[in-house]
């Protein structure tokens, strides 16, 4: 990544040309981008439940229709009916309309002089108010009309428009239907068309309006946040530019992939503006820091590339995975969102790594006034004071966080679920108000079906099995779950009632009576309720239960009832739009948990591998897990439901928040290497990361808060929760992260890989006997490497002994300074040898000088790092101490031997 950044810094025009070309390619198909809302896309695709639903639709037809709601005191007054008939005629001419069911078409099943008469209720228009009332009363007795097309208690009726199977543009449908019913406005007190095309049309319109409204707001929020924190014109413009490129490319990608803008994917452009800016801010911040250190533009760019190249790649990867993990869902809109948003982020990353070095290379010198004074001495003092305070009160702080986390966790069981397309509309929406009227006066727009199957031909021509259908219907009605359940049993009852000249439908009493009735029935009349071989029957349940949890409970109770009470020869399966929506809810929750779980595992692995210890990965998840727990607790306490919008918030926010943790940890690692003191490294980290982390977090929070202006509750809640998670993550990054990592000596994988060690050094060194190369590298990296020139002193006699040295390259001699006579060489060390250990372990001042006789590289391990190793890597350290003891023993024996030889030599010389 460093090379890529450096390349575009060196060749800015190439970078700009690539951006231009990519923009051309992606804008090519931009016209094909669709804005489409489909209920189908909110459901789980390609699973058994959906396959059963498709089969049910194939067998019995669709459940849903568009209703023309009509309300007036005398509903069947001639002048009104004439106007209505005309309007229905116009509706029937529309190319997308299959048929219209109304009192003009639904047969009034009765007998006239003993013969069956199935003429529609309004075959002849009523001539008097009494006749009107009679027709209305008769219609109200029909189970297929009561609460479906006629309100049993109010002056409300409806016409049901059944659309053709081919998919039509919702806006075209609703617009044409509105036009067709417009002439009725003067005739009825209230007239409107309502159905799922209307719901979807309103959503599409709102998406358009919101794009126009929220997009500038998001940009404004970002601009304000960037201006307040960075105060550099280019630094403010560059994130917007890279976001602009990535949005253009993403929309082009969506057009090419045939993915439409819908409730969920419509927020991606705004998210790209918000989330995409973080990498830019980090790069720019590092560039400006380089400039402030006095580097020229080119050097500052190299400094930026060196310091930030790998980090932005890593943080991009985690954010990318966060967004991609949303795509694990089996709900189409969510996997579309996961795919498009992660691709958008990839585009944004590409745009960033090309644009930032290219533009900075061309215009990096140009600054507004460089008013960002956060990197001053005062800030450093504040950072130090803050860290000292935090460290002093670490126990209280951890306790406070634990209490807060536990309190949040207690709210989690209170979370309720709601996943319904109608909930995308607020209560002020006219469409929502129309739905509420339909729910009040009729049976509601929602449906589910119970398919009862025997597997045996003619089953549902037997009263015993028809009664099974009726039993389920009665249970549903008794429970008050629905005001309209209809089945084949109802139709036969209707027919039987007519034949027996009764006032109401009555179930036939014998199988023979059923067969007798069947000869006066066209299969087409009941094809929505029973299969042609009469082995399977459907009970259609219309309802107004929009709350997913309530619906779940209803379906569970119904399932239990069916399980316990249905004839063992029959099997019942509940399916339908409502069931699939509920099933999608469960899939959404599973997907959410899966996404969060997988993301956390990936983060642990990435950070674990990056810092060569899984434990570090686990610690790094703490500041990211904490905001998620708080978010769920918040949802539970404030009654924010888990829905299509809120389900994404946690995974996305973790993906974003982990960036700051990574930046923090990598910075800390660097500072620790430089300062060798954890305290200094920590407040330096806080001081250095405060600006980029706080500015990106505040920009992100501001961006997410923009969604509060959305008129879709799920999106509004998504914005609120996203902002909350980011705020909590920011808090955690400056409280939990420092405390969690302050006791660690972080070793990055680059430290390990970039460490140049000759193999023989490792093999030869007595210190590392019995250790694996990997363990040796880990140990080595817990110290610091220092280079010495010939003649340098590593230490001097009398110095404080708090370090141990391992010679990696070169030669060092232990010498005893002789006053006025130079040095007496005691021992020479070659690569692999350890020195300085005796005084360190004895805790006495140095007894000799250590003089470099050849340019050397020395690994320095101080007392603190040895103790830290003892705590964190006890096995390695135990081995090292054993080796060290062995080495010391050998050196002692060598010394004794040498002294012994010296003694013999002296004695010989004397003698």
């Amino acid at each position: 990544m460093n090379r890529v950044l450096s390349f575009f810094a060196d060749h800015p025009m190439v970078g700009l040309a690539i951006l231009f070309l990519l923009s051309l390619v992606f804008s090519w198909k931009l016209d094909d981008l669709q804005v489409r809302i489909s209920a189908e896309e909110m459901l789980v695709q390609q699973d058994e439940e959906h396959a059963f639903y498709d089969r049910m639709r194939e067998l019995f037809g669709d459940e849903q229709a568009v209703l023309v709601y009509l309300q007036a005191p005398r509903l069947l007054e001639q002048k009104r009916l004439k106007a209505l008939k005309e309007a229905i005629g116009e509706i029937e001419k529309l190319p997308f309309v299959d048929r219209v069911e109304s009192l003009f078409s639904v047969p009034w099943v009765k007998t006239v002089e003993g013969y069956l008469d199935k003429k529609p209720y309004l075959d002849k228009l009523p001539q008097s108010p009494e006749e009107e009332q009679q027709v209305l009363e008769e219609a109200r007795k029909n189970p297929f009309l009561r609460n479906v097309l006629v309100s049993p208690i109010r002056d409300v009726m409806a016409a049901a428009i059944i659309l053709k199977k081919e998919s039509w543009d919702d806006e075209t449908v609703s617009h044409a239907l509105d036009e067709a019913v417009a002439p009725l406005q003067g005739h009825y007190d209230q007239v409107f068309t309502i159905g799922f095309p209307e719901v979807r049309s309103e959503i599409v319109q709102r998406i358009r309006q919101e794009q126009a409204r929220l997009f500038p707001l998001a940009i404004a929020a970002l601009l304000i946040a960037l201006f307040l924190l960075l105060r550099q014109l280019i630094d403010i413009l560059l994130p917007l530019l890279s976001a602009g490129f990535s949005i253009l490319w993403t929309l082009g990608f969506m057009a090419m992939a045939g993915i439409p803008l819908n409730v969920v994917t419509s927020i991606i452009p705004i998210l790209l503006v918000i989330v995409g800016s973080t990498e830019d801010i980090h790069l720019l911040s590092e560039f400006r820091q380089g400039q402030r250190q006095g580097l020229a533009t080119r050097e500052a760019l190299k400094h930026m590339a060196r310091r930030m190249g790998t980090i932005v790649l890593l943080t991009f990867a985690t954010t990318y995975l966060g967004f991609l993990s949303v795509g694990l869902s089996r709900i189409q809109v969510l996997w579309q969102f996961g795919l498009v948003s992660s691709t958008g982020l990839l585009f944004n990353f590409v745009a960033t790594v090309i644009l930032i070095p290219s533009i900075l290379s061309l215009a990096g010198k140009w600054q507004l006034d460089g008013k960002a004074k956060i990197y001053g001495e005062k800030s450093r003092r504040i950072a130090r004071a803050y860290w000292n305070f935090l460290w002093r009160h670490r126990k209280a702080t951890i306790l406070l966080f634990l209490v807060f986390t536990l309190a949040s966790m207690s709210g989690i069981p209170r979370i309720h679920i709601n996943h319904n397309v109608i909930d995308s509309l607020g209560s002020d929406s006219p469409v929502r108000q129309h739905i509420d009227l339909v729910n009040r006066d009729l049976a509601g727009l929602e449906t589910f079906s119970i398919v009862v199957d025997s597997g045996i031909e003619d089953t549902f021509l037997k009263v015993r099995y028809l009664e099974e259908l009726a039993k389920i219907q009665q249970f549903i009605e008794r429970k008050g779950w629905s005001r309209s359940t209809t089945s084949f049993a109802d139709y036969l009852s209707l027919l039987n009632g007519a034949f027996q000249e009764l006032d109401e439908p009555v179930m036939p009493e014998s199988d023979d009576a059923v067969t007798e009735l069947m000869i006066f029935l066209k299969y087409d009349e009941v094809k929505n309720y029973v299969t042609k071989d009469y082995s399977e029957a459907r009970i259609l349940v219309r309802h107004a239960i929009y709350d997913s949890e309530q619906l779940k409970q209803v379906l569970q109770e119904l399932q239990e009832y069916i399980h316990e009470n249905l004839d063992p020869g029959l099997q019942a399966h509940i399916t339908g739009d409502s069931v699939l929506t509920l099933y999608a809810t469960q899939a959404m929750i599973d997907g959410q948990l899966q996404s969060i779980g997988l993301l956390l595992v990936i983060i642990i692995l990435i950070i674990g591998v990056l810092f060569t210890e899984i434990r570090v990965g686990l610690l790094a998840t703490l500041p990211n897990l904490f905001p998620v727990v708080v978010m769920f607790g918040f949802m539970g306490f404030l009654g924010v439901p888990l829905n299509i919008g809120t389900t994404m918030a946690a995974a996305i926010a973790i993906g974003i928040a982990v960036d700051d943790t990574l930046h923090f940890m990598l910075r800390y690692n660097r500072e620790l290497k430089a300062s060798k003191s954890h305290g200094i490294a920590m407040y330096q980290t806080i001081y250095s990361e405060a600006l980029p982390v706080i500015s990106t977090s505040l920009a992100l929070i501001a961006g997410f808060l923009v969604f509060l202006r959305s008129s879709f509750p799920p999106i509004e809640q998504f914005g609120m929760l996203g902002a909350l998670v980011l705020f909590m993550a920011l808090l955690a990054d400056f409280v939990i992260t420092p405390l969690a990592i302050s006791s660690l000596r972080l070793v990055t994988i680059w430290d390990l890989l970039s460490l140049q060690l000759r193999k023989q050094v490792l093999e030869k060194s007595p210190l590392f006997e019995g250790l694996h190369p990997w363990q040796i590298r880990q140990f080595i990296l817990s110290g610091s490497i220092q280079h010495y020139q010939k003649g340098d002193h590593v230490f001097n006699q009398g110095d404080e002994s708090d370090e141990l040295y391992l010679l990696l390259t070169g030669k060092v001699e232990a010498c005893l300074p002789l006053p006025g006579k130079g040095y007496e060489r005691l021992e020479q060390f070659s690569p692999g040898d350890v020195f300085g250990d005796v005084a360190l372990l004895a805790e006495i001042p140095r007894k000799t000088d250590a003089v470099v006789v050849e340019p050397s590289t020395v690994l320095v391990l101080n007392r603190e790092s040895i103790e830290r190793n003892l705590r964190h890597r006890p096995r390695i350290t135990a081995r090292i101490f054993a080796n060290l003891a062995g080495d010391m023993a050998r050196r002692l024996i060598r010394m004794i031997n040498r002294q012994h030889a010296q003694g013999i030599k002296t004695r010989r010389q004397r003698s």
Binding site: E113, K118, E501, D512, A513, K522
Partner: protein, 268 residues
Amino acid sequence: MKRIFFLLSVILPAWMTAWAEAPNRSDSPWFAAPYTGEKVKEYELTLPVSRYEEETFVIPRDCKKLNSRLLAGAGHWGNRVQRRLWLKADDDCRYLNYLKQNPHRGDKDFVSDYDFMNARIADLPLRPGCDLYVLLRDPQSCPEPLPGMPDFTMFMMHREHHPQEADNDDCRFENGVFRGSIYPTPEGIVCRKDPRAPGYRILSVDYADVNGDGYLDAVLRLTTIGRRASRPELLVLPLTRFSANEPFTIPKGAEYPRMGPTNEGWIY
């Protein structure tokens, strides 16, 4: 001669009109069309005649064809509903055959002036042991009335209790419908109308000399109505009388043909 032609030209159309207005004397009866239940003179029906073949019949035009297919065993093909449709078509053809079995129209007519759709219950040949239920299903099993006893009986088989108040005067069909109960008491026939009680509906009244005795007979087709009533095959009740003032009786030798195809006597 001219006068004769003149008289013929005036009288013949008038007679023709009068004859035509007489209820269903010679034209075909009404049927309930399959699938729709509509009142029709003719209907088309497609039925399976083998595992893979279907045949369309226009009833009553194709009654003979239908009968021959039934004799060939085709009535067993099809599902439960189709098999029931074979029976319905056969039933309609049988009824038509019953009406047409005597090619001569009875000259002596004491029935067509009677308003059967509003028939008084007392005018029907009901008696103990021969209530309407038995009468409609197996008139031959009805015992002869006891000497000196009036024709009265219970009307309904499943009457559960005797109502306190009776409406003797109105004990009649009204527009083809009677709902209520009739039961014998020492004081005579007691009748009570109850619009919610089961009852009978007269579907049609056709006229033919079904036993060829020269007297025109009325043939009533009835069905049961009301809760707990079933609607089996139509019930056929032939009635005749030999003077305008006497009650109706079952014509002698006018047995209604039993169900199923026959190779005897197919006229139509």
